[in-house]
Amino acid sequence: MVASTVGDMNQLGVRWTADQVLALAPDAASRKAGSRLGSSGPWSDAGCDDAGALWGLCKGSGSRPYRTVVDLAGAGTASTCSCPSRKFPCKHALGLLLLWAAEDPVVRAGTEPAEWAGEWVRGRRERAEAQKEGATAEPGGAPAEKTAGPEAARRRAERRAARIEAGASELEQRLTDLLRGGLAAAEREGYGYWEETAARMVDAQAPGLAARVRELGSIPSSGPGWPVRLLEECALLHLLDGAWLGRARLPADLATTVRTRVGLPSAPAGPAVHDSWLVLAQYDQSDGKVTTRRIWLYGQGTGRTALVLSFGAAGRAPEISLPVGLAVDAEVLPHGGAGQLRATLGERFGAPHAGGALPQGGGVTQALEAYGRALREDPWLDFVPVTLGGVVPVRAPDGEGWQLVDADGRLALPVASAAVGRPGLWKLAALSGGGPVAVFGECGHGGFQPLAAWGPGSGEPIALA
């Protein structure tokens, strides 16, 4: 593998758009504050080099200006600033990125970093380089600590499997008790019952089961038709429980999927796929403690779709951030398991660039068929990534929801209720203007969640999430 160093590539080939920069902001207040600093006024001694580093001095209220440095090379966008803000990235870093995105002349291109900036950038890149070498060296001569590892790790894994085993058995018992006593009785017990069960599953080190149990708890208050939904989800949880308890008899791929669903860590399994990966969507979900960023990638050469996850603890944006609408030349390492699209972002080569192939879309029937097929591999799947070739967003006949209608006007997919009323759906309606647009999104039993769209003849997907 040709391991090119960051230095010899033009990381800054394509400037980001303001939207892409603002997507980095940890919250709305930072977005606003950053926008305000995206004008040349307070900045001085600002510049960028060809390797992906940006720096500048930003005048604040104090006498000494803040020193802001951003590094776009490597995995994720990193920044440092002498300001006291604990937000990450801070408003100064956002402002500097905006200036750079707008090609403001105050950020002088192609210069050497100022001394105070260069030090941090060099340190960061040396660490990244060392890490990479460490990773490639591993299979050969592993360090002493690692040799002791396999045996200990195996014992740890066995202990954990045993605890999950106990947890899954307990959950089975609770589910059958529930069905004997009736769902109506459970509804009267309220959310506390589920919360307690979820806590038991956390103790059993099965976070996947715990999350599903918590979901169950919210169904009785989710409006008409809840008994059907609750029975469905209870049944699928029972299916997962049973699959875990009988995993020895499952095909290897399905067993891996079950392990992941139960909550064991998922790891890259297959060989790296090198491609030009178009970033179709990037959006965050938060459970109050951890922010999960989901990034959908489309391989412009291979036609594969991959899901990259990145996590951020409270108050911090997840580390990986990719510009929606642009393509990244990179390696992606797929995780194992039947029907799994999750992948880890590996080495990146060069800067994000515009253009290249867009995924070919199908009709609404094909989208549902794709979901149906995927369920054969992973029956717990809530949705699959799908591109619809030419659909028109319209109000559903019930007047409440929305639909995506095939261009011939006959068949439709309901838009997921979570997307209705969100700004992204209005963006989609505006882009369509009543005509067909291509839409990428997540299609499943809960409807279709639009994440990106592009019109006929326009080259760049526009983020909707």
């Binding site: 303001a18 939207d19 207040a29 977005r31 606003k32 504050a33 926008s35 305000r36 600093l37 004008s39 040349s40 006024g41 307070p42 005048k59 604040g60 209220s61 995105a101 707008a102 090609e103 059958t176 008790d177 069905l179 004997r180 006593g181 009736g182 769902l183 109506a184 009785a185 008994p227 059907v228 609750l230 029975l231 209870c234 049944a235 029972h238 299916l239 609404v364 979901y371 149906g372 029956p379 028109v392 319209v394 109000r395 559903a396 006949p397 639909q403 209608v405 095939d406 006007g409 068949l411 997919l413 700004p423 209005w426 963006k427 309606a429 505006a430 882009l431 203007g433 009543g434 019109g455």
Partner: protein, 531 residues
């Protein structure tokens, strides 16, 4: 699970699950487990076999927008300006050194509209949201949003505002198409008709008058009032006959508007009647030695006066006679006064002493007349020299009225007057006057304002005492002045007696000013398609 008998139907399963297998039997060895198994099979089968829904009606596509696309940098800029709006306002009163992007939206939109650019579709929702929150943005935002913006606004009740008033504008027929115009005028909704009348009036005042007089007798009173208001545009002697008739209207409000419009036609019979009444009350002082003006206010408000729109009953606290006098003078053509007062010029008349304390009343009425008739020589005379303190001046001390008088002067003269005013009196009373000056400010005006700010800083006050003028300067100064202002952004050594820390705040305020000017210059360049 090897149940020989097929599991009960799904509805049965749900009912059993709801009540519990202890209460409602389920045909299996272990009922609860069997029910979960059966439900799992059903669930996966149902999800795998999902069918598309029947489609709702496809919408009418949005009309084509023939305008050109925005240059990419301008598009990015708009996204940033709109993103700034979406975030919560900064806490506290301090404005920091960064430009206030929201305030630049109106200018950006005006420039983009002048270039006739099409709004990028994906930014339309944010644009409609912005204009929803700020009514002053609406006309420009909706023009920029164009036909697709209106199309979109119909889908979201939150954007209903976009369909009011201007909604007609999108669907208006060509004003030359007499048949279509006539059809919409006779059958359209009120908002559409107001829009139509305005559009026709702008293109062909006589045609609009013909349209209105054709249906006048059958219109409702509040509609008549709105329609009559449309005649302000392109008002001319040709409208006199119609307005004279409207003086006899059943509705008092309609009568008042008709009288007001007629008073703006100095050659009309109405104006002649008002001139005769007004001049009979005001005469040169022939007895005294002062050579001033004597006023004999009317003693009654007769039927003929009331027919001409004079309101007989004064508001609480005002004397009847001064109330009537004010209305007569206000509605009389200003050209009547020079012949009445021995051929004096407006300047000379404004300088004459007025006997018995009637001066304030008379000057105030003249000011209203000058504003209504757009009479620059009279406005000039009543404003007096900018160096004279407002309270010692001739015409009016009210800043609002002064601003309106200024608006009748030619652009350059107005800017010079305000510049001299600012140089003489500083900024504390200048805000409203600056508001009527053409943007960007002339060099003389811009420098007067900046000098005044500099003086205020040296005097040791805090910049937020001038935040209104600062904000105006950010939006109205010529962006070309930015380099000249750079020197003011440094923090000076703290002077004796200055407010603590003021120097730093001033430098911050000037930084914001310079930053905003640079940004405005960049916005203009981007929209012009210059790199």
């Amino acid at each position: 699970m090897s149940t020989v008998t097929p599991p009960p139907a799904w509805e049965e399963q749900v009912t059993t699950a709801l009540l519990g297998t202890d209460r409602r039997p389920f045909p299996a060895q272990e009922p609860a487990l069997a029910l979960l198994d059966a439900a799992a099979v059903h669930t996966v089968r149902r999800r795998a076999g999902l069918m598309p829904a029947v489609a709702g009606e496809l919408p009418e596509p949005a009309p084509e927008d023939g305008r050109g696309p925005l240059p990419e940098p301008a598009r990015r800029r708009l996204a940033v300006l709109l993103a700034d709006r979406a975030a919560p306002a900064q806490s506290g009163g301090r404005r920091g050194s960064a430009p206030d992007l929201t305030e630049l939206l109106p200018q950006w939109l005006a420039t983009a509209n002048a270039h006739r650019y099409r709004a990028p579709a994906d930014l339309l929702p944010a644009l409609l949201d912005a204009a929803r929150a700020r009514t002053d943005l609406r006309p420009q935002a909706l023009e920029f949003a164009g036909a697709r913006g209106l199309w979109l606004a119909r889908l979201n009740p939150e954007w209903k505002y976009a369909l009011r008033g201007t909604s007609g504008a999108a669907a208006l027929p060509d004003v030359q198409d007499a048949k279509a115009v006539r059809a919409l005028w006779e059958e359209g909704l009120f908002a559409e008709r107001v829009g139509l009348l305005g559009a026709v009036r702008a293109a062909d005042p006589a045609a609009a008058l013909a349209l209105l007089s054709g249906t006048w007798a059958t219109e409702r009173a509040e509609d008549r009032l709105m329609f009559l208001d449309s005649l302000r545009t392109g008002l001319s002697a040709a409208d006199e006959e119609f307005l004279e008739q409207a003086l006899a209207d059943r509705s008092r409000n309609v009568r008042a508007v008709a009288a007001e419009l007629l008073s703006a036609l100095p050659a009309s019979a109405f104006a002649a009647r008002m001139a005769a009444r007004a001049t009979s009350c005001v005469s040169p002082d022939r007895t005294g030695t002062l050579g001033g003006i004597v006023v004999e206010a009317p003693h009654e408000c007769d039927a003929a006066m009331q027919r001409d729109g004079v309101v007989a009953k004064p508001p609480a606290g005002r004397g009847e006679r001064s109330w009537w006098l004010g209305q007569l003078v206000e509605s009389a053509p200003l050209s009547a006064w020079s012949p009445r007062l021995n051929g004096r010029t407006p300047q000379e008349i404004a300088a004459l002493p007025v006997a018995d304390g009637w001066g304030e009343e008379l000057h105030a009425a003249w000011c209203r007349a000058a504003i209504r008739q757009g009479d620059a020589p009279w406005a000039r005379a009543l404003l007096g020299a900018p160096s004279v303190p407002p309270e010692a001046g001739t015409g009016t001390a009210s800043l609002a009225e002064r601003a309106k008088l200024l608006a009748t002067l030619p652009d350059g003269e107005r800017a010079d007057w305000v510049a001299d005013f600012v140089s003489a009196h500083g900024l504390s009373e200048a805000f409203q006057l600056l508001g009527v000056c053409v943007v960007p400010w002339s060099q003389a005006l811009g420098r007067a304002v900046v000098d005044a700010l500099d003086i205020a800083r040296d005097a040791g006050s805090y910049p937020w005492s001038f935040s209104g003028v600062m904000g105006l300067a950010e939006r109205c100064l010529d962006p070309g002045e930015a380099d000249r202002l750079e020197i003011l952004t440094t923090t000076p050594a703290e002077a004796e007696g200055a407010s603590p820390g003021a120097g730093g705040y001033w430098s911050e305020a000037f930084q914001r000013l310079v930053g905003t000017l640079r940004l405005r210059a960049a916005m203009v360049r981007e929209l012009a398609g210059e790199a």
